[in-house]
Symmetry: none
DNA sequence: AATGAATGAGCTTTCATTCAT
DNA sequence: TATGAATGAAAGCTCATTCAT
């Protein structure tokens, strides 16, 4: 008899990814062990290998898939924001914060476990990150060219902005005092206040 | 690395701390192993135990000593800045960035290896971190009370600012295009632009 | 030793127990190391952990299982001896010697490695030992109450008898000059001569 | 200035022996470590080597000195008992128990840590033990020759008696319910009752 | 797809011992 | 006589991974 779709196998694979995400987020890649991962999923360690290639490949998949999805979602948000540079910048910041609020584990891992990737995987992931950062740098360059933004150094500003926006992952707890929208708005405001030419708001 | 000739105990202990700092920074606490640490110092793994209690105690010492030193240096910088709230805020931001530029390894470890501390050590370190964050929160509260700052939420602003300023550790490389002073100035400007009430600059 | 071909898990587990028994008997628990144990069984040291929890748990299992089996076998022997107190006492002594001749390793370990058990395990084993000693003490009390035994102090007598009977483990070598039956008989005779009231033989 | 007799050095050496005796008694030779021994004495581990040659030599000294002293004291007790075989046997048993009550640690170590001695040391100690056992065997042989004792096998009887008398070390606690004299008397009685020819008491 | 058993490499840590001071 | 620092060997145990079933 044929295996039904969404079968136990696929469900197990997805459970492994979810559990790995959580464990690596909390403990780090090196500190996570496959025993604990298997236990979390409710299978034996050896059974993991029906679904993953190696521990390293699992990490790469998680990071790679996250960055690919982030890039696609960002491009969609910029598209939706229309052609105006400041609108696109606001949209970038808002989307970044919101996405990062919702995918804290993925984000954290993609940032902090880069070093755990072996060289070939590392290269591919760094390329994706560069592509993402380029979205912001392009906007800052456009804003400068249009005379509507004022930053001393575009690269430094881009990294500072990304650091600030990403920082939300560190302290955010769902169900906290502030709504996601409030958090997003405040961060967008901080960014825009930091980069806008005084006369251009 | 070569054996440190005529190494007194104190010199070996310091070499261990320096090497551990570097290795944990690059690889993370869990991924660092004591064989490599010993090799870096030029001694046998068992000799480490003449100078450290355990790997865990070594991590705690590094984090604890860093946070204690940061707190002391920050208080000195604030003292030197005089009584004006905005001056003190600028001094805090400037000092934070400069200190973080110079102690990137310590900072990174103190931030990202908190989770590797066992519960008693974790508690003591978190208390120190809270004390440091309180320095900034106090300044923001004072600025708000004086009507010279405008932020929607002080806690969120504090964490966002700290995230941005600390982010410098991620990308800074000594000998890069910008001087430390330029990096500091730009970050101070970004912070002040973000929090100043428009009429109060 | 050679690899056990087609070893099922249970067979390996049993081989580990047998080898551990022998090694601990000869060298003591602290002096036995798991590398040697594994080599004796014909597996790698890490493979031991598919069958034991820890070295300490292995010791506890050996001691606990021995004492449980000894208690059960003793009760069966007493049952078979019928109701007469002196018959039961003879049966106890005979069974003790015979069992100890055949299980010298288990006995020795249970006696001399008590101190190597960690506190919780130690407590459980001591309770089993007390239960065993109580079998003899009960018989001596009954014999005294019936006026057929004469000992100055029942507890001292019980310990002295157990020490004497157990002492056989120290010097017995299978295939020696005396048959097991002769050794048993002589020890029973020594015990009975020591405790019988002169008029009651 | 000359070193005074009973100087700190000699006192340290004696303290080491006393502490080693206690630790080996409680934990066994293999489980005792020189760190703990040094701590017990109040010096650093490396300082032990001003007083002992090796851990192994320390064990040998303790065992050897004990057996030598035991032999000498036994011979003195037999001498004092006069020429009568039964008197000498009673004296032997009484002396054995009393000596063992008072030197429980030494006795235990000499019995159970034989296996921890390396071959040359082991041989020398076994010779001393044999010499001691020979004292009892000689008495039993004499008693048999005189027709006053009745045992099935002299060697078995000797080992059984020694096991019983030595067993006192296992359970004796100073300050217990019975006086040393009572314990001694009871054991002497058990021995004599076990070996006397019925008509010869 | 799942598993129990095995493995080799590696981990942190302990150990008895040495030696210059 | 005492010690702090060093060491090589070894300890118990964990790890990611393999493979026959």
């Amino acid at each position: 008899m044929a295996r039904i779709a969404g079968s136990s196998g696929a469900r197990t694979a997805e459970a492994i990814r979810r559990a790995a995400l959580r464990l690596i987020w909390r403990q780090g890649y090196a500190a996570m062990n496959l025993r604990d991962l298997a236990a979390e999923v409710g299978i034996q360690p050896s059974s993991l290998y029906n679904h993953i290639e190696t521990k390293q490949a699992l990490l790469f998949d998680l990071v790679h898939d996250h960055l690919t999805a982030l890039l696609a979602a960002t491009d969609a948000a910029l598209e939706a924001a229309g052609p105006d540079t400041l609108e696109r910048l606001r949209a970038f910041a808002a989307h970044h914060v919101l996405y990062h609020l919702e995918k804290r584990a993925e984000v954290y891992i993609a940032n902090s476990e880069l070093r755990a990737l072996d060289p070939p995987n590392h290269g591919r992931v760094v390329a994706l990150r560069r592509a993402y950062e380029a979205r912001l740098i392009t906007l800052l360059e456009a804003g400068m060219a249009e005379g509507r933004l004022a930053v001393a150094d575009i690269t430094v500003a881009a990294y500072a902005i990304l650091a600030m926006l990403t920082g939300v992952c560190t302290w955010y707890r769902p169900g906290g005092r502030l709504s996601n929208a409030e958090i997003v708005d405040q961060h967008v405001a901080l960014v825009m206040a930091g980069v806008l030419k005084r006369s251009a708001a």
